[in-house]
Symmetry: C2
Subunit: 229 residues, 2 copies
């Protein structure tokens, strides 16, 4: 039966090559801007391989997201589980929750030579993608983790109205998505060049400080804000 163990290596090698090439090219040229001919050429596989292994281009796009996003959000949830376990009943500080949320994304950025960095930038784009199915997929893959973090923040910030928290998480999500996606846009604000490669640890400190302050600040004119019927 298993006399030849090497059978497992080439079994999915074509799939992996396609996914890797797709990750990079989708990031560089977008989904519609990446042709199957360019993609398969870069992957070193036949043109028909994508349709054979994935069925269609759309199915490939979904596979690209699932491959990274499933374990990423699982890790996000595991990180929160660990945090809450160690807090033993009491609500963890907002800063700890923020760091737990950021970690999975920032870890991927340090995976410089792997495709992690490419994917994280691709992901940042996907939130504002015109295509409905893609946005729906992203939402579906993020859903469970979002629910967990929402209730965690709710316990950590009990004085914040529910609707207010939703919006602030929305802001937080936007900051993270944009920061990771538009890396080379930093220099648009200043003549400052992107200089050195991303320092994930430094970025985590900056993001955490910024986001925690924004999340914790008391809502302005809460009374007037609440009334909006």
């Amino acid at each position: 039966m298993n006399l030849h163990l090497r059978t497992l290596k080439p079994q999915h090698e074509t799939r992996t090559r396609i996914l890797d090439a797709a990750e990079e090219l989708f990031m560089q040229h977008g989904f519609e801007g990446t042709s199957m001919r360019l993609l398969t050429s870069k992957a070193g596989v036949n043109l028909a391989a994508v349709n054979y292994h994935f069925g269609s281009k759309d199915a490939l796009i979904e596979a690209v997201f699932r491959r990274r996003l499933d374990p990423m959000n699982a890790e996000r949830i595991a990180e929160l589980d660990r945090l809450e376990k160690s807090a033993a009943g009491t609500a963890p500080a907002p800063e700890r929750i923020i760091r737990a949320f950021l970690r999975a994304s920032l870890a991927m950025i340090e995976d410089a030579k792997g495709g992690g960095r490419n994917f994280i930038r691709l992901l940042g784009r996907a939130y504002t993608e015109p295509s409905k199915p893609i946005r729906a997929l992203i939402g579906q893959l993020y859903g469970p983790a979002m629910e967990r973090y929402k209730s965690a923040f709710q316990r950590a910030l009990p004085e914040l109205a529910h609707e207010e928290l939703i919006w602030r998480m929305h802001f937080m999500f936007g900051t993270l998505a944009y920061t990771l996606a538009a890396t080379d846009t930093v220099q648009l604000i200043a003549g400052c060049k992107p200089e050195d490669r991303y320092d994930a640890k430094l970025l985590e400190e900056r993001l955490t400080a910024f986001l925690e302050a924004g999340l914790r600040v008391p809502a302005k004119a809460q009374s007037t804000v609440k009334k909006a019927a």
Copy 2:
């Protein structure tokens, strides 16, 4: 030759119809996802009209951005001028600067029936657009306003290191861009529906409170963050 004073109404009507249709379709389907045939059909003009009036599809994309972004950033700068004039030498409070920056974007959102709302969402996408020329154009159009606001913030927050400010403005920009672009993604965080139409005033309060807190918070471990310039 072309110094003739023609009737102004029909002179640019085709151009305007094309720009309006492009604004809406680019938002719905993206740049590459919008074909000239669909676009000209929606605009009610001939297929060749785009190439006749704008030269190419890429030039049309640029015209779509210029039409709104030029006056928008001019207004942003005028708002800041007014603010600094009224402050008479002293540095305006960060909150005032933030509101001055947000106002131009939020005003467009209230332009519900006009294309303003469409454009503002389209703009949010452009920052993470794969196409280099588009990102370069956006950066060029935003440049002057960005410089002015950067020095305004620098005077208002003198204790903040230059590099730190750059990043926080980047975060701020991201929050705004994402919030405006991914409007229907709010419900991904909560089961909360987009409910009522955008209340620009309420959104301004929420954004200002969040952003001001994030901008003003002291930098963590400033000594280690500063490292070498």
